[in-house]
């Protein structure tokens, strides 16, 4: 059982590598499009991480420690979001004029309504609860590529 602990850093490093590479590619994509902004860097990083997971799984290299190094940060996500909420310019937003409030509230309300509308197209989808129940009942063997 040597190295279960030392495997953790490989997970963290893989996550950091994917995030950095995604940011780099997002910046490059933005530059290629002639705009001074990152285009989809986080999304690209997510795809890279998913690809890395599938690759490691297939070769049986996805050790528990590696997995922990990544899922730990995923679990810290909500606290990070709470800290992010605590650093928003709420005081400034509260003082905003009526036009700012009208545009922001209007845009959010319209988009919320469209989320509901689009949910009606294309038939029912498996909810997260159903998905979790299914995955639990299937219970893939370790190393099995579900």
């Amino acid at each position: 059982m040597r190295g279960a602990g030392e495997m953790v850093i490989y997970g963290v490093a893989l996550l950091a590598g994917c995030t950095l590479l995604g940011a780099l590619l997002g910046d490059a994509l933005g530059a290629a499009l002639g705009i001074n902004a990152n285009v989809g860097g986080v999304g690209i990083a997510m795809v890279l991480l998913i690809a890395a997971r599938l690759w490691l799984q297939r070769r049986g290299l996805l050790a528990e420690g590696v997995r922990f190094g990544i899922t730990f940060w995923g679990a810290l996500y909500i606290p990070i979001v709470v800290a992010m909420a605590a650093t928003q310019n709420v005081a400034g937003a509260v003082k905003a004029g009526p036009m700012v409030v009208a545009v922001a509230a209007g845009a959010v309300a319209i988009c919320f309504a469209v989320v509901r509308l689009m949910g009606r197209f294309g038939g029912p989808v498996e909810t997260m609860d159903e998905m979790e129940a299914r995955l639990r009942s299937e219970a893939p063997a370790p190393g099995d590529d579900a």
């Binding site: 995030t19 989809g40 979001v81 709470v82 800290a83 605590a86 922001a104």
Partner: protein, 252 residues
């Protein structure tokens, strides 16, 4: 002396403080709402209230992080760890599900650019703005708080209009954070596809990720997957296509 210590060990202070806030929120969720309102939703709301408090006390623009001994909250909640955390949540993504919802996500992404932009332009018209540069900048601000200033800078908008565009984007993110957990049921936000649609339509990565985290953390990666493209596409279309259309319609 304690204040100095807390400032020097900023990130640790932030971990302890956020843990405390989340613990108290869980207690409030259980005892006052009998679990009906998720603890993380209350924690996000508490975070926003603390941000208001920090901003009011210091006059700064970074909420709690403007109080020196709580500056570590800014590091913990900053873009670096936020993106690190979002990417980590992708580890649990069901690839087939994400691929199946891809078209919905793409359509939502486009609607998420056009609808807020139109809202911004029309409201700005109602408030007496008529020049295409101001209209476009205000419309772009309704996409995300980065698209607004990027578009305004590219078009040469006035500082006042830029400030308005940023304020709209920030308020939008805050509204999405605060309102999502309460309206999730009405929106049917309980599956991976609706989360991807939601991410594309809302656009604001911080609003989407906080709103979904407070609703059901399992939805976060699906929403983030689409939302992350919104700011980039908005910066692409705002000063170009959208501006040209606005100028064609309202003269210039």
């Amino acid at each position: 002396m304690i204040a100095e210590l807390l400032e020097a060990q900023g990130l640790l202070t932030a971990f302890a403080l956020v843990g405390l806030v989340m613990g108290l929120s869980a207690v409030v969720s259980r005892s006052l709402t009998r679990g009906r309102i998720h603890g993380s939703a209350i924690a996000v709301l508490a975070g926003l209230v603390l941000a208001w408090l920090g901003g009011t006390l210091t006059g700064g623009r970074h909420g709690l992080a403007d109080i020196p001994m709580l500056s570590g909250v800014g590091l913990m909640g900053g873009a670096m760890l936020r993106d690190f955390g979002i990417v980590a949540t992708a580890f649990e993504v069901d690839v087939a599900k994400a691929r199946a919802a891809g078209l919905y996500g793409a359509v939502a992404l486009l609607l998420g650019l056009v609808l807020p932009f139109l809202t911004g332009v029309l409201v700005a018209l109602g408030f007496g703005y008529t020049d295409p540069v101001s209209l476009t900048t205000i419309g772009a601000g309704a996409i995300t708080y980065i698209v607004g200033p990027v578009t305004g800078a590219a078009l040469g908008a006035s500082p006042e209009v830029m400030a308005i565009a940023i304020a709209i984007g920030v308020l939008k993110a805050i509204l999405v954070m605060a309102a999502t957990p309460f309206l999730a049921g009405i929106m049917g936000l309980d599956n991976s596809r609706s989360a991807m649609v939601f991410g594309g339509l809302m656009g604001t990565t911080s609003g989407v990720s906080a709103g979904l985290a407070a609703t059901d953390p399992r939805l976060v990666p699906y929403g983030a997957l689409t939302a992350t493209f919104s700011t980039g596409l908005g910066c692409l279309f705002g000063p170009s296509l959208f501006f040209l259309i606005v100028r064609a319609v309202f003269g210039g």
